[in-house]
Symmetry: C2
Subunit: 145 residues, 2 copies
DNA sequence: GATTGACCTCAACTACACTTGAGGTTCTAG
DNA sequence: CTAGAACCTCAAGTGTAGTTGAGGTCAATC
């Protein structure tokens, strides 16, 4: 029978708050049908989509990037395993890069921070990429470098 | 002769903006002496301290945590290599944990996301720790789980 | 037919790490 | 001695990812 789901049901099954679902919808990450009484109704596939969004987040992908990726999914049909796989490949690369960066930082920290070189011009930790220039306003949430 | 440094000099040498130095001071991460004309003056050691702050940030440590760690440094004397080393050990552990988490996520992603299990109850990616409960308001900046 | 719970919108608040701007002061060089 | 650079404070804005609350509607139950 495959009933549609209400926001509350989706929230409970996916583990995200109702307010978050509203927020995702406002950001274009998910969509909903409306009933005659203006209430949201979702197909069961929404659960997969939300799961994918959460996994992307855990991988450090900003919501806007995930939204863009999801927008490339085919419009007409329900996305299949190959569609999701294509998305996952990009995240895998992103994750790899983040892991590599953190690992390099850790290794440098090991040999470097205790030695006293931290205040010197040449220290790889102090001045990772000669990055004296800024990159615009706002915080750097995902450690660059 | 070891002259003291002005904010502008510190900014140039450390690579952080003057506004950021003001911000760090407001947050208690650094301190400054004031001249008769109310301008900031720093000892050269400030550069090391700022370098340490930036390294901690790159390791994913929030400023508040770094501030607390720096507050444990001895008051009277200039911190030496052993002092910094003690700090670095904590960050090393934090980094290790972050790397481990990301690596686990990557490995799970490899075997999992393309297979279609993402919408199921049992999927380790979908429901990492049965974390249906919230942990309070605000964003989760540093991917938990 | 009223109550209750789930739902609706919209605005405002939270946290982090800063930046930007306004309006004013101090320092340095010509 | 004056122009301009560099400094000062304080308030408000930026971006991400949401949550919270006010004020109102919808739907099923008693």
């Amino acid at each position: 029978m495959q009933r549609e789901l209400s926001v509350g049901e989706v929230a409970e099954r996916s583990g995200v708050a109702v307010s978050t679902l509203h927020f995702y919808e406002a950001r274009g990450l998910i969509r909903s049908r409306r009933t005659a009484g203006n209430q949201r109704r979702y197909p069961r596939e929404i659960l997969r989509r939300i799961a994918v969004i959460r996994v992307a987040q855990r991988a450090g992908i900003p919501l806007a990037t995930t939204a863009a990726a999801l927008a490339t999914l085919p419009e007409g049909r329900t996305p299949d395993a190959r569609d999701w796989q294509a998305l996952s490949r990009a995240w895998r690369a992103n994750l790899d890069a983040r892991i590599t960066r953190l690992t390099r930082l850790r290794d440098q920290l090991d040999g470097c921070i205790g030695c006293g070189c931290l205040s010197m011009q040449a220290c790889p930790l102090r001045n990772p990429k000669d990055e004296l220039g800024a990159e615009g306003p706002g915080p750097r949430l995902l450690d660059p470098g």
